[in-house]
């Protein structure tokens, strides 16, 4: 190019981008710390990204695990904070077999285990002597958790549970390190005590020998094959043939089964308390949607600024692609959506913390509203981000099809968000249920508060039906 377009673009700006960056990252010190962590990562062989786009699936799997263990060891060796660890994970972005160990296995034991169970499992988790994951979804049962078929039958004689996969479709499928990495799973299974079905409960089940890493007797486990993205994390299947586990393998902070086989149901507010975890996960999904769309928009906009195509008159420089009407009419609205999602993510995390504080006081009054919003926001934000990443990729022409652009990997690893933690259509329907209840309330003259309050206002319009 005749001029340094990237530098020229920055001279055009009417505001201080560093000030806005500091605001969005909660201070200059956070940005500086991130730079330091980038330098640390660049000095480590396991976080070198030079060859990232040329890896086979097997190399990706091994490399992802090396990166996860590398970050873990850095944190322990250098006594880095959890925040530093999360930032390094985000910077390196090499998902590996510890994703679910850190993201779900440990939090579930913390949230659902008794103090004794936490004392038993957490030290092993923290030293990586065991690696855990989740085993909820079955080949034939996804979002509808109540439809799970895997059973855990209590045997009073031996004081054990017998966990079993009764059908082909009850084979667990979990794309989170279950096939080859995990030694333990949090198994969701229907609890049977004295012939009575108490529905799905959580159990810690060892699936591999800690010395040999071979599957234990009665356990069939392996990798079910490549995924669209996120291939550093293996894609596991698991079936159990009458495997016996001790009574204390059932996570019993809430519901319990006594030695003599008496079922003690969870306290009434337990289910409401469990929503806190769900709301937290959804809040992080909303937050990440802004992050991923922002990355895609950054790539596409910067490239459109330095890419020049076609001169309008002979002898004149070719135009910056960003100056084509169709390109800017796509990229800048996309930019606005990315910023909207970034702010929504921040608000959603605030909402979660506020709910968590209220929950500690036994106040669950905001739960219906929060449930409706978190469901719908999970769906809409992931829809916008997934569609937006692909839109950004298309603005990069043929180069956007290259992995080196960063966009195909971004899309392939992101788009799963539209179907995990509740398929988006199901999530919208949860919001719709709240709306229909609100509509019925309006019809009966009840006042509305919260996000659906506008329905009351609409009903007061002269031509309202």
């Amino acid at each position: 190019n005749p001029v340094d377009d990237a530098a020229a673009e920055r001279l055009k700006a009417t505001f201080d981008s560093e000030e806005l960056a500091a605001f969005l990252h909660d201070g200059v010190d956070k940005l500086q710390r991130r730079e330091e962590l980038v330098k640390l990562l660049q000095s480590q062989p396991w976080s070198d990204k030079t060859h990232r786009y040329f890896l086979t699936r097997e190399q990706e799997y091994v490399g992802g695990l090396e990166a996860a263990v590398g970050i873990w060891q850095q944190m322990r060796g250098e006594r880095l904070s959890m925040e530093d660890g999360i930032t390094m994970r985000s910077l390196a972005y090499f998902p590996g077999g510890l994703e679910l160990h850190i993201g779900m296995f440990i939090p579930t034991i913390l949230g659902q285990g008794t103090p004794e169970q936490q004392a038993k499992w957490l030290p092993l988790c923290n030293r990586l002597q065991i690696i855990g994951t989740y085993a909820q979804t079955e080949l034939g049962h996804g979002t509808f958790v109540r439809g799970l078929q895997t059973v855990a039958v209590y045997d009073e004689a031996s004081k054990e549970f017998v966990v079993h996969s009764p059908s082909l479709e009850s084979t667990k499928w979990w794309p989170g390190g279950m096939g080859k990495t995990a030694t333990h799973v949090i198994l969701m299974a229907r609890l049977f005590v004295k012939g009575k079905d108490y529905g799905p409960h959580s159990f810690v089940v060892q699936i591999r020998d800690l010395a040999t890493h071979l599957p234990l007797a009665g356990v069939s486990v392996g990798d079910i094959g490549p995924k669209m993205g996120f291939n550093g994390v293996d894609n596991g299947y698991l079936s159990l043939d009458h495997v016996r586990i001790p009574r204390d393998a059932m996570l019993m902070r809430f519901a319990q089964v006594t030695e003599e086989g008496r079922y003690i149901p969870p306290p009434p507010d337990n289910q409401k308390a469990a929503y806190a975890t769900m709301v937290y996960v959804r809040a992080t999904i909303v937050r990440d949607s802004g992050d991923f769309l922002s990355r895609a928009v950054t790539i596409a906009t910067r490239y459109a600024a330095v890419r020049r195509q076609t001169a309008t008159k002979l002898g004149e420089p070719e135009l910056q692609v960003l100056d084509y009407d169709n390109v800017q009419q796509i990229l800048l609205p996309l930019m606005s959506r990315a910023y909207a999602l970034v702010f929504m993510g921040r608000s959603m995390m605030d909402m979660y913390h506020s709910f968590d504080s209220a929950r500690a006081r036994g106040d669950f009054s905001v739960l219906p509203e929060l449930h409706a919003l978190s469901s719908g926001l999970k769906a809409l934000s992931t829809d916008i981000a997934a569609t937006g990443i692909e839109t950004a990729r298309r603005q990069c022409g043929g180069h956007g099809y290259m992995l080196a652009s960063g966009l195909p990997t971004l899309f392939n690893s992101y788009v799963q968000n539209c179907t995990w933690e509740g398929d988006n259509n199901v999530m919208y329907l949860q919001t719709a249920r709240y709306l229909m209840k609100a509509a019925i309330a309006v019809q009966t003259g009840k006042p509305l508060t919260g996000s659906a309050k506008y329905l009351s206002d609409a009903a007061r319009q002269p031509n309202a039906k």
Binding site: A6, E9, R10, K12, A13, T14, D16, S17, E18, E19, L20, A21, F23, L24, E35, K49, T50, Y53, S90, L91, R295, T298, I299, R302, Y303, V306, L322, D325, Q328, Q329, L331, L332, P333, M335, R337, A338, Y339, A340, F343, G376, L377, A379, H399, G400, M402, A404, S405, G406, L407, N425, Y428, L429, T431, L435, M436, K437, A439, A452, Y454, A458
Partner: protein, 195 residues
């Protein structure tokens, strides 16, 4: 609606009123469909619910789209009024907010007109306003990507690098290709030479 000129569509009040009207219309429509499917009684379970899901999803999306935009407005106004941002970044964020509202409303253009909330002319004004806002934001496009604060290491993108040196980055990346390990490539001798 009360919009008479393109710039009227920038006003948060007009944007929120229009998005709320769409959400209310779609909710009322979904409730009517659900009631019909349920033989006059709107229920939130069962067959009637399943046979109304298209309308229910449309209503939910509109409700959340309204909430998302409302949140964006409130966050930017709060940051500005609490002086967490100086005038420059605040002004650019307000333009982004306006553009987000306009873009969201354009997605709902059919719904805006279907029940007569907006006329075809008012939707045309909306489209014109999007063009104006995009042009206004154009000089800040790259600076707005800088504010996201992504280091090159994190993006790992030849096209998205901060210094704009994209073609050199693509060629540097090619050095890692196993196909370039030899000049003749891995298939020439075993596959093509016998021909």
């Amino acid at each position: 609606c009360q919009v008479a000129a393109p710039e009227d569509w920038r006003a948060p009040a007009h944007q929120l009123a229009a998005l709320a009207a769409v959400a209310a219309q779609l909710t009322a429509q979904a409730a009517a469909v659900l009631a019909r499917a349920g033989g006059g009684r709107p229920g939130v379970e069962g067959e009637a619910w399943n046979s109304s899901s298209v309308d229910l999803i449309r209503a939910a999306r509109a409700h959340i789209a309204l909430y998302l935009h409302q949140n964006f407005i409130e966050c930017v106004e709060a940051a500005s009024s609490q002086r967490k941002l100086s005038a420059g970044p605040a002004a650019v964020l307000r333009q982004l907010v306006a553009l987000h509202g306009v873009a969201t409303l354009l997605d709902a253009a059919g719904d805006l007109q279907e029940r007569g909330y907006a006329t075809g002319r008012q939707v045309a004004l909306l489209r014109g306003e999007q063009r104006t806002l995009v042009r206004a934001l154009r000089p800040n496009a790259v600076a707005l990507t800088d504010s996201f604060g992504y280091p090159d290491y994190m993006l790992n993108s030849a096209l998205g690098r901060r210094d704009g040196n994209v073609y050199q980055a693509l060629l540097d990346s090619a050095k890692s290709s196993p196909l370039n390990a030899t000049q003749e490539g891995p298939a020439w001798k075993p596959v093509l030479e016998p021909l």
